[in-house]
Symmetry: C2
Subunit: 391 residues, 2 copies
């Protein structure tokens, strides 16, 4: 159920180590509209800088993507290498280099093994259509433990379109952005400004509300290609279909976000933190992130310890003007604290923490706004994965 | 070599569990000047709130301190309990309750076991002088693996004074403040305003520049008592002796800070991160903290992986307007990156990471200001300590 007119291929280029798919190509039979959003980190990887320039045209036909090496902190050579990847792909596909986008994920600060990548690009172009979007999802994994793919049908007038996306996450997950890479595609025709707007809105409600470890990557990228191959009338913000399209895009990105959060490096639990009763959505989000980023909260969740005092402490340093004596905290279905003090139900709540999916609801009782963020627990496995990442 | 006129005692009150000293009393034979600085967390423990009120008088004669329970998030009962601890100590010592300060550290959100504490306070007063400052350092430990005590002589005119301090740290360490508790005392006479100023200056250059896990406590407190028992003329900011006094206070607090950083929960290494070449000291400090708080950097240090790309990424999201292509990074004595790109010396630097003390120097090459912060690596042990803290 991939969107019409998109072809995929993958290859093994031994970028970090041999024996796995680490290079992929996404190609649309016709030139597509393309929207993108990128890391806010001031240190931006070469492919991010290249794509940020190209996206101004809002047009594109292919994305070449690799795992194993982030092509970040690689100076001028890195920019040359990113450019060369698109030139070689364009040549093999017989399209203009400016229609090709490039994404990289993996180790920072190491030169790209261009000799090995160069060899594989013609093969990628030849094999287009022989591989699936699932293969692409596999090829972009780094420390992810499972491939992340979501596909949804959406009715646009009398036609049916598809929105599909793959992403990879795992570590270095914090807004803005949360995904290291998310590649979305649809066969629905969407106006260029509308496409960019819809992407930003969806990303703000999904990937930008995940946190794993508070780190933000140099490579975060979300791209959305719309090739219009179902032949609908181009959707604009005023179209009736805009709502359906953007709602489905929200769903696709939120589902992908949940996959990322539940696959946080070493994570054993998916945790949703909701802050209610805030004066503004911004304050709610800020308070929720403060809790979600607290190493002490996350280790307590891992240890099935309903240590709500650590939640209070994280709210206290969030920068949001909270009133301790007004705060209610619920862990799972157990209200552990009311008006800032214990209900003596910590043991019961500790039992609730044994679930794989945990919901924490914090009511500041100071307003009407709320926000949810997704995170995971912090485990010994996180340390292991990250201490040994390059070895 | 404790300062003149200070007496100490400790007791076992089974606050968290039996079989260890968890209650201590510090008493000055004469009323002292006292200065204090407290957590910036909006959720402040009851003893912090009480001390903040009392410190306005700048006078005090005793400090009662317990570990095992933080008396935080305990509502009105918590305030009553903190007050009662000072009233009972004052009664036993035959001084006014307003001359007694109280500090607590330990579990948040649990009521104080006042029945057990109440019983032990008369014993504490009776035993004054039978125990040492080392015993106090022991009694205030929570997850600390060793007691932290520093004592230094300082020449004031023709007399010799002593500045001594104990502290406890371990987890939840981030400015402002870094210490959960730091109790300082001196027998040198210092004017009240001068005492407060000297304490703030020292704390800003020491405890406020440590980070273990980015969390800030509800209980952080530093108190400094000066009883003037060496009989010097009271030091003011204009005294020649002010410089000697404050320099020695800096040394005492910095030494205590290093002990805290090297005893971060689960830490295997003490890490000093220095940022140079910044436009302002504030920018240097902010950039250094961004690196010091990065879980990815800290796990790489633990794994002896000179993954300087993670350092670059943390600089990139620090909020400081850095220029990637200007940055030099040194790990130990090995310059791993120059002008933002690799020097191909990561393996060599990985060897340097096997030391127990690591220095990382980052030159932004954008100005003349610098700042140092202290931190530690992030290990599986941190997770274990914090996942099981209450069990």
């Amino acid at each position: 159920m991939t969107p019409k007119g998109f072809l995929f291929s993958t290859a093994e280029a031994a970028i970090k180590k041999p024996g796995r798919k680490d290079l992929a190509l996404i190609y649309s039979r016709v030139e597509a509209k393309i929207a993108g959003t990128f890391t806010t980190n001031r240190v931006k990887a070469a492919p991010v800088r290249l794509d940020m320039r190209r996206i101004r045209s809002a047009a594109g036909q292919a994305i070449i993507v690799n795992s194993g090496n982030a092509n970040a902190c690689t100076g001028r050579q890195g920019m040359k290498d990113a450019g060369e990847m698109t030139v070689l792909a364009a040549r093999a596909l017989k399209i203009k280099p400016s229609s090709v986008y490039v994404c990289s994920t993996g180790v920072i600060g190491a030169p790209m093994p261009m000799d090995r990548i160069r060899l594989k690009i013609p093969e990628l172009a030849e094999n287009l259509g022989r591989h699936s979007l699932d293969d692409v999802a596999q090829a972009i994994m780094t420390t992810d433990t499972f491939p992340k793919i979501v596909q949804r049908r959406v009715r646009i007038g009398k036609r049916t379109g598809v929105i599909a996306g793959v992403c990879k996450g795992a570590g270095m997950i914090w807004p803005n952005m949360a995904t290291m890479l998310c590649l979305l595609m649809t066969d629905i025709a969407v106006n260029r400004k509308t496409l960019q707007k819809a992407l930003l809105n969806s990303v703000n409600r999904s990937f930008n509300r995940i946190t794993i470890d508070g780190d933000r990557s140099t490579n975060d990228t979300a791209l959305l290609m719309a090739n219009g191959m179902i032949g609908n009338r181009e959707i604009t913000e005023k179209s009736g279909a805009y709502k359906d399209f953007s709602k489905m895009l929200d769903e696709v990105t939120y589902e992908l976000s949940k996959m990322i959060a539940s696959d946080g490096e070493g994570a054993s639990k998916l945790v949703e933190i909701e802050v209610r009763g805030a004066r503004s959505e911004e304050a709610a989000e800020r308070a929720a992130f403060s809790v979600a980023n607290s190493s002490l909260v996350k280790t307590a969740l891992y240890g099935n310890d309903a240590n709500w005092g650590r939640i209070m402490a994280a709210l206290g340093y969030s920068g949001v003007p909270i009133r301790e004596e007004k705060i209610d905290i619920r862990i799972g279905k157990v209200k552990v604290a009311s008006k800032g003090v214990s209900n003596g139900r910590d043991k019961e709540a500790g039992e609730a923490l044994k679930n794989k999916k945990i919901q924490i609801v914090i009511d500041l009782n100071s307003g009407k706004k709320s926000a949810k963020v997704l995170t995971c627990d912090l485990t010994e496995e996180y340390i292991k994965v990250n201490a040994d990442y390059r070895t």
